[in-house]
């Protein structure tokens, strides 16, 4: 595995030549992986916000006009419900627009939302390619591949996460399952599914963007209308991913968060040490 940013140095042999005792660091993330990781944040926010503005023009989830509010759009119903039940929002100027005003660029700006969506979509595809390049150049892809033991290991991790709060409460030791891979099975499942999700977003996106020239692609998702529904629900996968992702990174500590900026970690496992020396 080539290492472009850190000078190659043999552990043990050069350490005696350094003035200060050296710090042993493990190279975790390739430069391209780190940059594309953070670029996803503004790009996905832009895609989601503009996407919901596009959704406003023709909501997928509609019903017959509500006798009281006249609303036909489920997202508008949710806004109306929020404004009538959440304290402090009773005088909100336009309850049917509450969801669009808070989760999108805003209602009634389809042309602009489309332009923003195309811009972000092309950036997202470029960024995805940069990410894949980084995964392959740094060899990180191997750590993401699912393996046979994952189902059991994922269950053990799940059990561990569930038990942590109780163990803290009754002040008992609650041991983290042991594994000598870069990620545990749950992390691996999450980090493997996110590029897959990105791929599905892009393919369903093309299916509904060019349903005539790429009609075979739309047919693959059950036709134009079904592909729109897929595209909408796949968006929620990012939100479903990002909430525990952020919580767990902060819970795991500074080293993990820092490694996505600097690329290295000072958490060097004994197994890695021995494996590297061979």
């Amino acid at each position: 595995m080539s290492d472009s940013t850190l000078p190659a140095s043999e552990p043990n042999s050069t350490s005696t030549l350094l003035e200060e005792p050296g710090v042993l660091v493990a190279k975790k993330h390739h430069l391209l992986v780190r940059w594309s990781h953070w670029l996803n944040l503004p790009i996905l926010l832009g895609l989601i916000a503009s996407g919901i503005s596009i959704y406003w023009a023709s909501p997928v989830y509609q019903h017959k006009p509500d006798p009281n509010t006249g609303s036909v759009d489920v997202a508008a119903d949710i806004g109306i419900w929020i404004c009538s039940h959440v304290p402090g929002l009773h005088h909100y100027s336009s309850p049917p627009h509450w969801v669009y005003n808070h989760m999108s660029l805003g209602p009634g700006m389809l042309a602009l939302a489309l332009r923003m969506h195309w811009l972000c979509a092309y950036l997202f595809m470029l960024n995805g390619m940069v990410y894949l390049a980084g995964l392959f150049m740094g060899g990180g892809w191997r750590s993401l591949l699912p393996r046979r033991t994952d189902l059991f290991d994922a269950f053990m991790m799940f059990r561990y996460y569930l038990g942590v709060p109780f163990a803290k409460l009754i002040r008992r030791k609650w041991l983290h399952p042991r594994f000598n891979t870069k990620y545990n099975a749950l992390q691996r499942a999450a980090y493997f599914s996110i590029p897959v999700t990105g791929f599905l977003s892009v393919t369903t996106g093309w299916a509904i963007h060019k349903p005539m020239q790429l009609h075979w692609l739309a047919a693959l998702f059950g036709g134009y209308n079904a592909a729109r529904v897929w595209h909408f629900w796949i968006m929620w996968l990012y939100i479903l991913f990002v909430v525990p992702h952020v919580i767990l990174v902060f819970a795991d500590g500074w080293d993990t968060l820092r490694s996505m900026i600097v690329g290295w970690s000072t958490r060097v496992k004994r197994s890695e040490l021995t494996a590297n020396e061979q």
Partner: protein, 307 residues
């Protein structure tokens, strides 16, 4: 184990055989070889703390600069209304922003044009798959009073003349084609409908446009705005798309002559474009070498609108 790894093993074997003739040791080392898909341990480095501090500082500064750039970029690109809602009270309407967003739109149009093929037919459906098609006239629906005196004017012809055709003329001169296709609206909804009419291509053959023509401007002078005032509607269409065998000048909808709702007596039906290019109640077609104006492109939508 994959092929490359196997070859590596063979090489390894021959080398060890030359140097040390210990078969037992060698077989162990072959087993230790990692498969292509097998996870490798993270590469380790020993670095002087001073160097590590320096590198961290550099990386944090770089990523900080990147974050600031992303923030500035979003502030620059986001619409005024959105920024105002987020509590940013700054009104800048920069021409650079319009240029930048239009550039992204142009790239997408170029991709759409590259995807287009004159030989690729759009999917057709059976009568049982027909769905309801709403009247999506941009403004008010015109009063049917225009229909009795309706004429189609064609300009920019090779002959240099301007011609005018009435409905009977069009219907008797050209053969009728039927198709059940999907109409896709820029808003996201779509409808499957049964259309019949003449091929635009047949009209182009009967009245050839001037030799350098690449575009057609298709317009309706009877369109109205929301309050019912005249609001002529005009779109641009490239001649390559106009010549597509499924591009019709439709006169019938679901087996009946077009109603005013759907653009009586003649509308453009071009399933490889968004619905907004499917002009209702066409009154004039003008061929040109230069790209003509487009009603929705002037309102921030794409020019090409290929689907």
């Amino acid at each position: 184990m994959n092929n490359k790894a196997k070859i590596d093993c063979v090489n390894h074997e021959s080398r060890t055989n030359e140097t040390a003739r210990s078969v037992a040791v060698e077989s162990v080392s072959v087993e230790k070889r990692q498969g292509l898909f097998e996870e490798r341990p993270l590469p380790l480095n020993e670095i002087a703390p001073r160097v590590l501090r320096h590198r961290s500082r550099r990386d944090f500064l770089l990523f900080g600069a990147g974050a600031m750039a992303a923030l500035a970029g979003s502030g620059f690109l986001l619409p005024q209304d959105t920024l105002r809602r987020m509590g940013v009270r700054r009104t800048v309407n920069s021409p650079a922003k319009e240029w930048f967003l239009n550039r992204a739109l142009r790239i997408d149009d170029d991709v759409a044009e590259a995807l287009y093929s004159g030989n690729r037919r759009v999917p057709t459906y059976t009568k049982s798959q027909i769905t309801a098609l709403k009247n999506n006239y941009n403004g008010a629906t015109p009063d049917p009073g225009y229909i009795p005196g309706w004429n189609l004017t064609i300009d920019g012809l090779d002959s240099g003349l301007s011609i005018s055709l009435d409905v009977r003329n069009l219907m008797t001169r050209f053969s009728e084609h039927e198709q059940i296709t999907r109409l896709v609206c820029v808003e996201g909804w779509s409808a499957i409908a049964w259309w019949a009419g003449l091929r635009f291509d047949d009209l182009l053959r009967a009245y050839p446009p001037m030799s350098q023509a690449k575009w057609a401007r298709v317009e309706s002078s009877v369109n109205l705005d929301d309050s019912g005032n005249p609001d002529p509607y005009f779109i641009s269409i490239d001649l390559a798309t106009a010549r597509h065998p499924q591009t019709l000048l439709a006169s019938h909808f679901n087996g009946q002559p077009l109603t005013v709702d759907h653009g009586a007596p003649l509308r453009l039906l071009v399933p490889v474009k968004l619905g907004l290019k499917n002009v209702k109640a066409i009154t004039k077609i003008t061929y040109s070498a230069e790209e003509p104006r487009d009603y929705w492109a002037e309102r921030g939508y794409s020019r090409y609108d290929g689907v």
